[in-house]
Amino acid sequence: MSVVSRQPEPDIKELPQSPPSPSGYWLLFTDYCRAVGSVLWKDFTAELRSKELLSAMLVFSLLVVLIFNFALELDKAARENVAAGVLWVTAIFAGTLGLNRSFAMEKDRGSLDGLLLAPVDRSAIYFGKLLGNLLFMLLVQAVILPVFSILFNLPMLKPLLLVVVLLGTIGYAGVGTLLASMAVHSRTRDVMLPILLFPVAVPVLVAAVRASGAILISAPWEDIGPWLNLLIVYDVIFIAVAFMAFDYVVEE
């Protein structure tokens, strides 16, 4: 029994479509946001149930931090110098885990088709996935930063540092989500993403490490500002590029 009744289809579809009115645009926008939100909600809910990804990323990050701790014997001065670097190397490696997983699951189960069948703009899928990846990476960072503080004996919870972490992660996830959607089809899937992503993400790494380092030693604004600008520029450029390119990646 159908609950939704169907009206007879008018012949209007043969006519060329006129551009939507302002309220039409608003409707499209809310539809778009709802689609983005649904993808995000789906990934988040599924992850909360299984906790596979978050636990993997967390454990991996902690292990990397530990390894650095043993590999680099550091006195206080040296520790201050490398702390920012270690933080971001950890974030980058753990990040690839998350990025890979978000598409690997979809591809293996064929559920990417389910997303593509829905009458939503392809870029909404991109943004939904991006926000999901971003959320997971930030959650992991939220745990790692305090651990870092303790191990490196440095105050990590400065608000400006959190801004840098946010901007850097946005840039990294922005490009990473696009590249992961391609890498997942490759035969050497697991290693393909880092190979594609790391060279392109160098500006993020450089800017984030420089900015973080400067913040940790409480350097003046002139040392921090330009790096923040670079991060913002990078984020904007690459999210725009990814937004436009994603269509070409998923459409056959």
Partner: protein
């Protein structure tokens, strides 16, 4: 079809000959016409090879960038071929640039390698294009391969200038080459007018060399594709 092949092969042959002639002349100019540089001596002659090759490697990647965009719009396999062959040639030129640069650097600055912004970015650029080729290798469906490669060709190329700026704000050494009076950076030098002539001729020749390689390589690709088509026809008959 046969006639068309003959005509294009003829053009290609002419191009090959012209390229060879230009290269011979360029080499002659470099060794016999260009003056001996005051500070660095004979080794400076590598510069006439090194810089054009480096610039042309970047030209090659720019060609890939444009070809990628055109491919995504037109979905014509020709542009995919242009993109991928340009990357191959670009990488060869990159290796030649790095090797020739090292050979120049050792006597001139007493080191094989430095991590200055230009070199670092250049290495990263090479890695991006190696990744491009690896991506192509890993995707089986030809249409998907072409699409993905095109997307990465675009993303990769855009990242290079940003990478360059980020690293430059961070460090500094490569010589400021063209006519800058205050070449206070180590190894810089002013170019006199005969040097300028040799340099630009060399640049021209090596650019022609690039296009020659590209054209030959493309012809090879087209022939390979023709073979595949014939194979497929035979198998399905």
């Amino acid at each position: 079809m046969e006639k068309h092949m003959d005509k294009s092969t003829r053009t290609l042959q002419i191009l090959n000959v012209v390229t060879a002639v230009l290269m011979v002349i360029a080499t002659g100019l470099v060794f016999f016409y260009a003056p001996r540089e005051r500070v660095m001596g004979e080794v400076q002659r590598i510069f006439y090879f090194h810089v054009p090759v480096a610039w042309d490697s970047m030209l090659a990647f720019f060609v890939t960038f444009i070809a990628s965009i055109v491919y995504l719009r037109s979905r014509s396999r020709w542009w995919d071929m242009v993109g991928s062959t340009s990357v191959e040639i670009g990488l060869v030129f990159t290796v030649m640039a790095i090797v020739s640069g090292s050979i120049w650097a050792r006597p001139a600055w007493n080191t094989w390698w430095t991590w200055d912004p230009r070199l670092t970015t250049y290495t990263i650029m090479a890695l991006i294009y190696v990744a491009y080729l690896m991506l192509r290798q890993g995707i089986e469906d030809p249409d998907q391969r072409a699409r993905f490669a095109a997307v990465y060709g675009i993303v990769g190329f855009i990242s290079v200038p940003i990478t360059f700026f980020s690293i430059r704000w961070w460090r500094t050494i490569h010589p400021v080459v063209i006519g800058n009076g205050s070449s206070s950076a180590q190894g810089g030098f002013d170019m006199t007018s005969p040097m300028r002539l040799v340099f630009f001729f060399s640049l021209f020749s090596i650019t022609v060399l690039y296009f020659c390689f590209l054209a030959n390589r493309l012809r090879l690709e087209k022939l390979a594709e023709r073979v595949e088509q014939l194979k497929a026809k035979l198998l399905s008959a």
